[in-house]
């Protein structure tokens, strides 16, 4: 136990030392960004919860259902992120060679890594869960006990997916020691997806569908169903019962809290026993079987004629061979595809062209925000991932400008494909007018070009050459600053486009005269703004790379 605490203490000291090493501007920016995010999320939650509480009959039930579903989604996200980070934390970290050489029981190393992994995989979810829980407490007028208890419950809750993910991977590696990171992560994710499917089947997904009726009896029946919380075997339900217990007393929070604590402790204990039985052997087998496969057919099996193609092929190979990268990207893209296909079933009151147009604009904003998030996760770490080869690039007869521009065009093509496919198919499903059908994808080109520039440019300005895990690079202070700037860029773009959009809607649906000056100047300003957001971040990145010591 002492060894475990000692390892944790060393990690904590390293963490605080890294915070102390931040410059004052960076530290203030970091705190500012986090504060903006948490306060912004709190504001949105409090408004949405307030609105739902004011809706007669079904409002409170809908709010409870929303909270339960949010916690369920958090649980699935935590399982995914824990699985993705577990392999590198428990089996593929350079620090493990050192730790296993020490006279320390492997279980102490396991527990320290479990804490570390839980923290890394959960902090983003926690950042959203925290304002959600506080806003819910404020809206229901919860007593003071609610706040510490709900925060404690969330922390207890976080250990369940962390322990489950570590168990899953340990068992898989024990049974199939020759599996690589890619196979282990894929099997684990398939397993989680299967469980999620079962849960949704058992828990009656019909309750989530948009409700359409004019019959009062059916409405009351629906409202009654909303307050019937299903899925009693799922930790998110126990957590939501703890929160709901303070609103109307409809759930026994004491029982749920004890149940959650018991299950969390049991899961950690079981994972500890599994680790005791097989962690060392699993870790040793990953070392023995890692990467022994010969790769005789690849893009770089022969040298390329062009420098740009050489860099491009190297980046592609490194990306497809890093499971944490493409597994996460695949999950993102699958979720986005599900979202776009769900637009085929737009509710009945969206048949009117005005609503369809508004939905199309909202969808554009949403997809832009999603691209901003994808950019921070996948594009921001690009330059930092050169860490192993930076000695070579820095000493080779090639400019950082060229390296960054090759990466820019590669990422731009990817971003354009994603945003265009999403916008064109979503517009098709929403059935927007022809003009808007083509206009929004054109605007999307600018958004893609700017977001790629912001992420690559600032990724070069705030590189993290000592870290080889892209998720952790994106989660650093530079990544968070870039996330805020990306989101601010999308917000400002939407504000700029609001004027021509409003004119378009007024003219098309209310027969109002068009103010062409406002429309054209709005678009012109948008283009100028994007020229700035494309050129400036890239220039900042190039200058920073050229002036840096390696």
């Amino acid at each position: 136990m002492n060894d475990f605490l000692l390892i944790l203490r060393v990690r904590a000291r390293m963490f605080f030392a890294s915070i102390r090493s931040l410059s004052a501007i960076r530290a203030v920016s970091f705190v500012f960004v986090i504060a903006c995010f948490v306060l912004g999320a709190y504001y949105i939650f409090i408004r949405v919860f307030g609105y739902l509480m004011s809706v007669e009959v079904i409002g409170p039930g809908l709010l409870d259902r929303l909270i339960e579903m949010a916690l369920f989604v958090f649980f699935i996200m935590l399982l995914f992120s824990n699985v993705i980070t577990s392999f590198s934390t428990f089996y593929n970290s350079r620090e493990l060679d050192f730790l296993f050489s020490l006279p320390v029981p492997p279980t102490s190393i396991y527990l320290a890594k479990l804490f570390e992994n839980c923290l890394y995989a959960s902090w983003a979810t926690l950042t959203i869960a925290f304002p959600l829980i506080i806003a819910y407490g404020v809206r229901i007028g919860a007593p003071i006990l609610y706040y510490p208890l709900s925060i404690a419950s969330i922390v207890i809750y976080l250990f369940i997916p962390a322990a489950v993910a570590s168990m899953l991977i340990a068992i898989l590696l024990r049974i199939f020691p020759k599996l690589g990171a890619r196979e282990v992560i894929m099997i684990s994710i398939a397993f989680i997806l299967g469980l999620t499917y079962l849960y949704i089947k058992i828990n009656n997904p019909g309750l989530l569908k948009i409700f359409e009726t004019e019959n009062e009896q059916t409405l009351l029946l629906f409202a009654a169903q909303l307050t019937t919380v299903g899925g009693v075997y799922v930790p998110s339900t126990w957590l939501s019962n703890i929160l709901r217990g303070f609103s109307d007393g409809s759930a026994d929070w004491t029982f749920s809290f004890l149940l959650l604590s018991f299950v969390s402790l049991s899961t950690v204990l079981i994972s500890f026993l599994i680790a005791k039985a097989c962690y060392v052997r699993s870790w040793l087998s990953t070392g023995e079987h890692a990467s022994k496969r010969s790769r005789r057919k690849s893009l770089l099996f022969h040298p390329q004629r062009q420098v740009a193609r050489t860099i491009l092929f190297k980046d592609l190979l490194v990306f497809v061979r890093e499971p944490t990268q493409w597994v996460q990207l695949s999950i993102f893209l699958i979720l986005l595809a599900v979202y776009v296909f769900s637009l085929r079933k737009t509710p009945i009151y969206f048949v009117f062209p005005l609503w369809r147009t508004i939905v199309a604009f909202a969808n554009f904003a949403y997809i832009s925000f999603v691209l901003a998030t994808l950019g921070v996760r996948f594009m921001f770490p690009t330059m930092s991932l050169e860490r192993a080869g930076i000695w070579f690039i820095g000493s080779a007869p090639i400019s950082f400008k060229k390296v960054l521009l090759v990466k820019y065009f590669f990422n731009l093509v990817t971003a354009v494909v994603i945003i265009e496919v999403l916008l064109l198919s979503a517009n098709l499903f929403i059935r927007v007018g022809r003009g808007l059908y083509f206009l929004l994808p054109i605007i999307g080109l600018f958004v893609a070009a700017s977001l790629v520039s912001i992420n690559l440019g600032l990724g070069s300005r705030f590189p993290h050459f000592h870290e080889d895990n892209p998720s952790r690079i994106a989660a650093g202070s530079g990544g968070i600053i870039t996330a805020l700037i990306s989101i601010a860029y999308v917000g400002i773009s939407i504000v700029i486009l609001a004027t021509p959009a409003y004119n378009y809607l007024s003219h098309t649906f209310m027969r109002m005269p068009v103010n062409y000056l406002l429309v054209y100047s709005g678009f012109a300003f948008f283009v100028l703004f994007n020229i700035f957001t494309i050129i400036v971040p890239l220039r900042i990145g190039i200058k920073s790379l050229e002036r840096r010591d390696y």
Partner: protein, 244 residues
């Protein structure tokens, strides 16, 4: 024309001078070995010449081209091997070598034959097609040596060339350096291995606390220090109050 000219080169990290006013000239066919204790400024010097660090003051001229004015041209003459041989974990050794060949635009004529010869020289086996994340330090070092010779630089910068190499490869490397010198290449090597310095160096430099304490050949070293054994000479000159 000198192959490498360093004029009053200085480097400061925060408030600490890592290198203070280095002056050096190297011609073709020379092997310059830089000796010095840990933290003396050896790696800093090599990184400055390789363009991985920006000088605080001074200039570096490679084959008549100022590194600051035209870094791309200046770097096209040099090849650099760092003290820690990092290779992209998710590339195989062969892919890394081909990546380097692509960046340096290495001629495709007889490329495969030259690569096969170099792989034989450095005893690189079929493991060259496995991901480098499974390589030992020595295996990575051999791959890096291989890529270095494939693009055939005039000025070779090597930081600790023998670390991690087995005795057989070590001997190959020493013989190779002598052969490169005879071909007119210039080698700038930083090392702690004194026997290696005695065996291959045409010029030796001793650096301590960022200052070049001595530069000359082995005979001059013996004469100045009054010692015959290179280990004694090194210990005397690299001491804090060593003779300049």
């Amino acid at each position: 024309m000198n192959r490498l000219v360093i004029k009053n080169l200085k480097k400061k990290f925060n408030n600490t001078w890592a290198l203070e006013g280095l002056n050096l000239q190297l011609n073709q066919g020379e092997i310059f070995v830089l000796l010095g204790p840990n933290g003396a400024g050896k790696t800093t010097t090599l990184k400055l010449i390789a363009g991985l660090l920006r000088p605080t003051e001074g200039e570096i001229v490679i084959e008549g081209t100022n590194l600051n004015d035209d870094p791309i041209k200046a770097k096209s003459y040099l090849g650099y091997v760092p003290d820690e041989p990092f290779i992209y974990n998710k590339l195989t050794g062969r892919e890394f070598i081909n990546f380097v060949a692509g960046i340096y635009n290495v001629s495709k004529q007889n490329y495969e034959t030259r690569l096969t010869e170099l792989m034989e020289t450095f005893d690189i086996g079929t493991w060259v097609d496995e991901l480098s994340e499974s390589y030992s330090h020595g295996m990575k070092q051999r791959v890096i040596m291989c890529q270095l010779l494939l693009h055939n630089p005039n000025l070779v910068l090597i930081d600790e060339p023998l670390v991690g190499l087995d005795p057989k490869t070590s001997k190959t490397v020493r013989e190779l350096f002598v052969r490169l010198k005879e071909e007119g290449k210039t080698l700038f090597i930083s090392t702690h291995t004194l026997s290696f310095a005695r065996e291959v160096a045409t010029k030796i430099g001793i650096i301590n606390r960022g200052e070049l304490k001595f530069i000359g050949d082995i005979e001059e070293l013996s004469r100045i220090s009054g010692k015959k054994d290179i280990e004694d000479i090194y210990l005397k000159l690299s001491a804090d109050n060593g003779i300049v």
